[in-house]
Amino acid sequence: MFVTSAYAQTAPAASETPAAPAGEVHTETGVAHGGEHESAGFPPFDSSHFASQLLWLAITFGLFYLVIQKVIMPRVGGIIEDRKGRIAGDLEEAGRLKAEADAAVETYEKELAQARSKANGIADAARNDAKAKAAADRTAIEAELAAKLAAAETRIGEIKSKAFAEVGAIAEETATAIVDQLIGGKATGDDIKAAVAAAKTGA
């Protein structure tokens, strides 16, 4: 900063006196004027042009700032936002499609499982039906057999009791005949009956 001010002080002191009267020469002979400045000092520290530079910088940079703020920024920002939005939208769409595909796979698997369980159910039902029918047939046959057996048994019992009853009469006849043969006397019918009955119960 000290260097700057030092130059700034010497520059106008040396240049302003010749530069002010040479204002008209300024435009025509820029080279000659440049030569003067060389002797005056380092051109970037020559304060005689500071005002002009500041003004033109303010005008140009101000304009540039406005163009950037009003035109460039919304436009470039818009382009980038659009692209981001588009990419996000595409990703979302891809996600949606994937979810759809997943859902389709899920329903397919669910239906497959349902069909499988249904098939199992049908098979089970058929098996159970066959089993039940077989059991019913068997019980029917068993019942029939049992009925036949019972009928046969009752018949045997009847025959047996009939036979027993007939045995009593035969025994009485036989006993009467034996008694006749052995003793010669006639045994009364009642005695023989009683004796046969006693033998039957004793046997």
């Binding site: 300024h26 520290f45 140009t60």
Partner: protein, 250 residues
């Protein structure tokens, strides 16, 4: 005269204008300010006029510079700082374009004038001060009082902070100005060696190759410096704006 490395920084009046005894002439510096703004604004305007979803090369460059500055500002000054985006983007694009235009032979470098860089720095620091006081009132002064400093050291620390704050516009402007000035002088000096050695005859032409290589290398370096200084100016602007936005949060 052609070899004078300072000659390129001379300001020549093109249209003399004088208001109230003050020289407001349209000079070559003014012409190149207009050119800088026209080129920068024109590039940004026409490269994005298609508004393509898939950008072309020019639109990519415009978008990249936009997002580059936007990220810089967001990182430097937080999301509240985005209200200063037009300013930081304008500063970055203006300085970058001015620096790059200066790389053309015979063209005037707007940013090699201390008054221009100083005006831009004062704009930034002035905005920091005005916005800081408008937003935070006297709390803005907390900027100079870092928390967690022992009481005995506090006056010294405050003094250092105040001095460093006052030095900001100077360091910000001198950095850009000196880089552009020194780079262009160095280029001119080495390029001058090429011609003056070449004029010495066969031996001179042989040795002139060395400064020629140097000039080529320096040209590359200067393009880097042209970008880097615009970047540094913009980054520091973001940091200073962060002070205005959050004076007690650093």
């Amino acid at each position: 005269m052609a070899n004078d490395p300072i000659h390129q920084f001379h300001i020549n009046t093109i249209v003399p204008i004088e208001i109230g005894g003050i020289d407001f002439s349209f000079t070559n510096a003014s012409l190149f300010m207009v050119a800088t703004v026209a080129i920068a604004a024109g590039f940004l305007y026409f490269s994005t006029s298609q508004r393509s979803l898939i950008p072309g090369r020019a639109q990519s460059v415009a978008e990249m510079s936009y997002e580059f500055v936007a990220n810089m500002l967001r990182e430097g000054a937080g999301s509240h700082g985005m209200k200063f985006f037009p300013l930081v983007f304008s500063l970055f694009m203006f300085i970058l374009t001015a620096n790059l235009i200066g790389m053309f032979p015979y063209f005037f470098t707007v940013t090699s004038q201390i008054i221009v860089t100083f005006a831009l720095s004062i704009l930034v620091v002035g905005l920091v001060v005005v916005y800081g006081f408008a937003k935070h009132g006297l709390r803005f002064l907390k900027l100079f009082v870092p928390s967690g400093v022992p009481g005995a050291l506090l006056p010294l620390v405050v003094l250092i902070e105040v001095i460093s704050f006052i030095a900001r516009p100077i360091s910000l402007s001198v950095r850009l100005f000196a880089n552009m000035l020194a780079g262009h002088i160095t280029l001119k000096v080495f390029a001058g060696f090429v011609t003056s050695l070449g004029a010495l005859g066969a031996l001179g032409i042989g040795t002139a190759i060395l400064p020629l290589i140097m000039t080529v290398a320096l040209t590359g370096l200067e393009f880097l410096v042209a970008f880097l200084q615009a970047y540094v100016f913009a980054v520091l602007t973001c940091m200073y704006l962060n002070d205005a936005l959050h004076p007690d949060g650093h």
